[in-house]
């Protein structure tokens, strides 16, 4: 370890520079080592610690079993996530839709008890966290995609319909948005179409489907205002 004395010597005595020169080959090893240490530490920080720091977790009010509900209903996802008469998409169901069946406790699960006692009887809407909510600057129409382009739910939402419990809701501490928008992979890599929902992902699909999307004269692709109203 360097000391104050050594530093003082370094300044005062030119000869000591020669002595240092003699040690150079040994020091270059340290230099590489420190480079590696610095490199490794920042990689660990960036790839492992940073995502943990960036994202916070919240538990849903209670666990929801999609798989079981899908088995009970007749119309798949649309039984609960339906289009309203005006064409707008209902999104997460309101309490009123659930109470048709759940006016009394059904089954014995803890989640069911929580739901009925704390929400149905209290007539309180369940404050679900939405995994897929886009930023406020994005206009997204389910009707255009599901009804118009005949896309299925899985393309964007994955196999959520087969989930048996609600995973924790992870949100970005800086932006406040759900982690699903950037994607689980911190590098932003994706294997499936539903892994990420950033603008590039919209753009990619719009480019591939690009026959009818030519609202921008300049780019012959969709113009900004198609999504950013």
């Amino acid at each position: 370890m360097s000391t104050l004395d050594e530093k003082a010597t370094e300044v005062m005595d030119d000869d000591s520079a020669h002595a240092k020169g003699a040690n150079e080959s040994g020091a270059s090893g340290y230099i590489i080592l420190f480079f590696i240490i610095g490199f490794a530490a920042s990689m660990v920080l960036g790839w492992v610690a940073f995502p943990k720091l960036l994202y916070s977790q919240k538990q849903q009010p209670f666990s929801f079993n999609h798989a079981m509900h899908v088995a009970e209903v007749n119309n798949g996802c649309e039984s609960c996530h339906f289009f309203r008469d005006d064409g707008s998409f209902s999104g997460i169901p309101k309490l009123a839709q659930c109470t048709g069946c759940h006016d009394e406790t059904m089954g014995e699960s803890e989640a069911e008890a929580t739901f009925v006692e704390q929400y149905v009887w209290e007539e309180r809407e369940v404050p679900w966290y939405s995994y897929s909510r886009q930023p406020d600057c994005v206009f997204f129409s389910h009707a255009a995609h599901v009804v118009g382009a005949k896309m299925d739910c899985v393309t964007c939402h994955g196999h959520i319909g087969e989930s048996e419990s609600s995973r924790p809701y992870e949100y970005n501490r800086i932006t406040g948005y759900s982690r699903d928008i950037w994607g689980k992979n911190i590098a932003g890599l994706k294997k499936n179409s539903w892994d990420r929902m950033k603008m590039d992902d919209c753009a990619q699909c719009h480019k591939e489907a690009g026959i009818v999307h030519t609202s921008s004269v300049q780019t012959k692709r969709d113009a900004c205002f198609v999504c950013h109203k």
Binding site: A27, I31, I37, G38, A41, S42, G46, G91, C137, T175
Partner: protein, 722 residues
Amino acid sequence: MKVDRRSFLSFVIGGAAGTALSPLPWKLMDDSSIWSQMWPWTPVPPDGEVVYEDSTCSLCPGGCGITVRKIDNRAVKIEGKPGHPVNDGGICILGLSGLQMLYGPTRIKAPMKRMGERGAGKWQKISWDEALGMLTEKLTAIREREEAHTVAAIAGSDQGTVPALLARFMAAFGSPNFIRTPSYQDTDELAVGTLFGEAGRTGFDLENADYILSFGSGIADGWGSPVRMIKACSLWKEKRVPVVQVDPRLSNSAAKATRWVPITPGTEADLALGIAAVMIAKNLVGSGAVSGLGGIKNTLLTDYAPEKVSLSTGVSVEAIVEIAKDFARANRPLALCGRGKAQSPESLRETAAVYLLNGLTGNVNQEGGMWAIAPADYIQWPEVARDKAASAGLRQPRFDGAGSGQYANARHLLQRLPDGLNGNGPYPIQVLMVADANPCHSLHDAAAFKAALDKIPFIVSFSSFNDETAAMADLLLPDHVYLERYADVPVAAGLPSQTIGLSKPVVSPQFNTRHLGETLINLAQAVGGSVAESFPWKNYETCLQETLADKWDVLMQKGVWVDDDFATAGSSLQMAALDTPAVEIEGDAGTFPLLLMPYDSIRISSGYIGDTPFMIKTVADTVIKGKDGFVEINPQTAGEMGLSEGDLATLTTPRGEAPVRVHLFEGIKPGVIAMAKGLGHTAYDGFLADKGINVNELIGPVEDPSSGLDAAWGIRAKLAKA
């Protein structure tokens, strides 16, 4: 191992390389740009199901049908209801911004009792039971002492079941003192009663008229039903209907008219009679519509010859004759009066003169003419039960003197209240209840009214808003706002039909407020005895439904009930004499060389409802700038006084003094100055309070000698450079 500078630098470089190859900087950059583009504190309304609820707006007497766009249970936009007989899809700036009344910061959110000094704004929230208990206790004690007449109520209207319930409560309780705030309705009722011999109001078939002669009526400034009027203005433009605006000031209505006739303020009656005289002299009078014309013919021809009228009004003889000929030769001419928004009583002389013009056309109760309409009679409740206390109280004279002696023609004389309270009244007032009214701001000499309230030991306000009068109360029993409640909205406002709209709850009550009708029913039941007997309804909704009877289903379905085949209030206009005295103006011309007139703007709400934050932002900075209010003055007059645009000046009238800024305006007669009504609030919220001057504090009431109604239309004033 030795860590020297090179090793350290190497560590840092390694760290930098590693960081660059990790997602950290790229992800942070992305996140911070997202964050900076959408601040998390920017409010974003939640998404949800869009529904539309129809209702009726009752922020002004206009009675427009509205459609409220809702996202889930939150109202987000008010639109005019297409196809509605009053407004057919149109909406005014006040109606449009009504949601700021619902969700804005001026709401009184729960019943409260006063804690500190009166007017100090210190309140304590209490429960409805406690609040009603307090009031019941006071009222019961007064009744037991057989002093029921010492309770008074001020209401913004007497139309519809809610004001009728308040009037009924007063009658059942035993007080003759149900007092309606002054409006043009007072004069109109008086004029119809005098000229047609029956109770009623006027209606104007504006859409079918082919010549409009307006005596200062703000046809594009909020007169009558404002949206209907704006639509009528457009229709007249389209059909090339001549619109003549008689106005001392180039108001928006005058600017929109085909012809503007600047007139010496206060001489409108002379001009109307002068036009009548020309019509008679030139034999241009329609047949048989006016009886008793023979009796006044000679007086008209001699006293109101164009030359004489020209001298007093400042309108040229040629103009008078031309207007008279055009008016008479039109097929369906209409003359209108009621200055500005017609929110204040006017001189009976002027009103009768203008109605006489309509009579002379022979178009009374005809298409395109003026109609005399019998009062709406759908509220048919059994007589109130009167016990001893009620009978004793009702034998007492009214506190404001209306209906007897020299005031026999008047029904309500609120402006006489301060004088009465200051020792000239027949008895003291122990409890005052105020509903849908803000007399501490909207009454002439508002400061004197406010000061006189000191003499009343207990004041109850039912206001939904934190207005000037509520600020002076001891107990607040806040009503729902119009978007949260059921109410019938009978529309007069110059409509030539019997029209009733229905207000429906568009959203559930946002705060711990209670429907005024409900409060009154609860109160009556708590007072008990014959008062309770007079209120047999379980709740307000039952009362409303029973009262509307067969109209209820129509109203629930269509939102409006219209009867075009209504009863008229007499068919012929009788003009007995022309001796109705004029309304003089207060102040001596020597000390006060100028004439101050208030004017109405559609952008400034000046009654019980204050301006919304949205509306106040639309007011020009020649009306208010920052906190300063402006007075309009002709450049010639300003030049004589050494005033230029934007100068600070002190405006003095016999009633008060205020700092103002000067706005030079070619569109106002020399010697006349004008100020917008509805500003200078001290209550409400930061958007409205302390902006401009309340012109009502500078103008005192002036009683029309023929009725006692406060028909002040201005005051003498002086301006001095500050």
